[in-house]
């Protein structure tokens, strides 16, 4: 492989097809933030413990800081920037606003993606508080104490 450390990847980002020539050393988070200007996903811990960098890859929730960007080839990536459609917040986002589940906001994009993954997976089903907590156990928030986030997720799952 004579690619001098760069490789072409074709993937979809928030529904739009993109082709990028990327450094094989980059994480998906670095490509999102530095190449595509999508700065919603944040780098918190950088080692997959805080979830601030959470995005969906083919609808699977992953920490983009410990996900090689080249793995995105052929995949569909969803980030917080694509959740509001035509200026209207998604149901999850709206619920976070209503419940005041946001304080400093640093963890919010990651949390919203975790909640989005959870609500889409459990559509129309009744879920327990414990299940909600477990599904968000990979995301840390140092402001809210989680109670309002929990309420927001409950609200987003209501039919």
């Amino acid at each position: 492989m004579t690619d001098q450390g760069f490789r072409e990847i074709i993937f979809s980002i928030n529904g739009k097809q993109r082709t990028l020539y990327i450094d094989i050393r980059s994480s998906l988070l670095e490509v999102l933030r530095n190449e595509l200007g999508l700065t919603g996903a944040k780098e918190g811990c950088g080692v997959g413990e805080c979830g601030a960098c959470s995005v969906l890859v083919d609808d699977v929730l992953v920490d983009s800081c410990i996900y090689l960007a080249i793995w995105a080839d052929g995949k569909a990536i969803r980030t917080i920037e694509g959740e509001a459609k035509k200026g209207k917040l998604s149901k999850v986002q709206q619920s976070y606003v209503k419940e005041g589940a946001v304080q400093c906001g640093f963890c919010t994009p990651g949390f919203i993606m975790a909640s989005t993954s959870f609500t889409e997976k459990n559509k129309g089903e009744s879920v327990t508080e414990d299940e909600i907590r477990k599904a968000h156990a990979g995301n840390l928030c140092r402001c809210t104490g989680y109670q309002n986030i929990l309420k927001a997720v409950e609200k987003s799952i209501e039919p």
């Binding site: 994480s27 413990e49 979830g51 410990i66 080249i70 975790a114 477990k134 599904a135 990979g138």
Partner: protein
Amino acid sequence: MFDLKKHIKATCLDDAIALLIENPNARLIAGGTDVLIKLRHGKKGYSELIDINGLEELRFIKQDKQNNILIGSGTVFSDIIQSDIIKKHIPMLSDAAQSVGGPQIRNVATIGGNICNGVTSADSASSLFSLNAVLVVKTQGAIREIPISDFYLGPGKVDLKKGEILTTIIIRPDDYMGSFGYYYKYAMRNAMDIATIGCAVCLKVKHHILADFRIAYGVAGPVPIRCLKTEKSVTNKKITLKLLDDISRFVAHDVSPRTSWRATKEFRMNIICELSKRATKKALNRAGEGL
């Protein structure tokens, strides 16, 4: 940026084996939840990677005609949690898979990586020890099967030779059918934490007699361990509360925990003895024995 010098994507298992042989300094990367963190921390020996991430050939959970349960090494923990086969036949493995990291980690981290990483705290390892799991390791022109209890050579060191890849984990019907198990993870928090002690119990009951008893620990020694002396002393004994006390006394002689910043040796020993009782009781309850 990860300090990566070389990255080659394997197209299939055989390609991965050939690439490992061609590139003697290269290591495998699957889910990346260990390797990428080591790279980020500047650990040497990870700058050349052979990539088997997302290789479908290694991602499966199935039951063969002989009722062996086969788990591909590239199976992620979320697959194990959602698998009907595992839920039905080996719920303890489901317990263990659920206790790994958090959702994001479980969505990408593979069971094969958890084992080959060679750490004593791996949640899947102690459970697989108690299930007498057999590992299938493949290289060019050769396949060998190793009981998991022989696979760990030391901290971070497993019995994989150059050009070998762990492909499948086999759990035999004798070891899961009619068996009831439980995995108990003791950690400071419920998620995103490494076990202070992990305890896996797998047992069979016949007329209120403990017909088969297997108990394994993570973090109770440099590698995951089975408590063979304890198992021998309590097998075929009547199930009583006293038996639980005996087990908790006996296990202390089978383990060798150490002090680290997470916990002292003495505290770990206390947890080891207590968890033997709790995990055994839970497994007995699953077997229909009320104690």
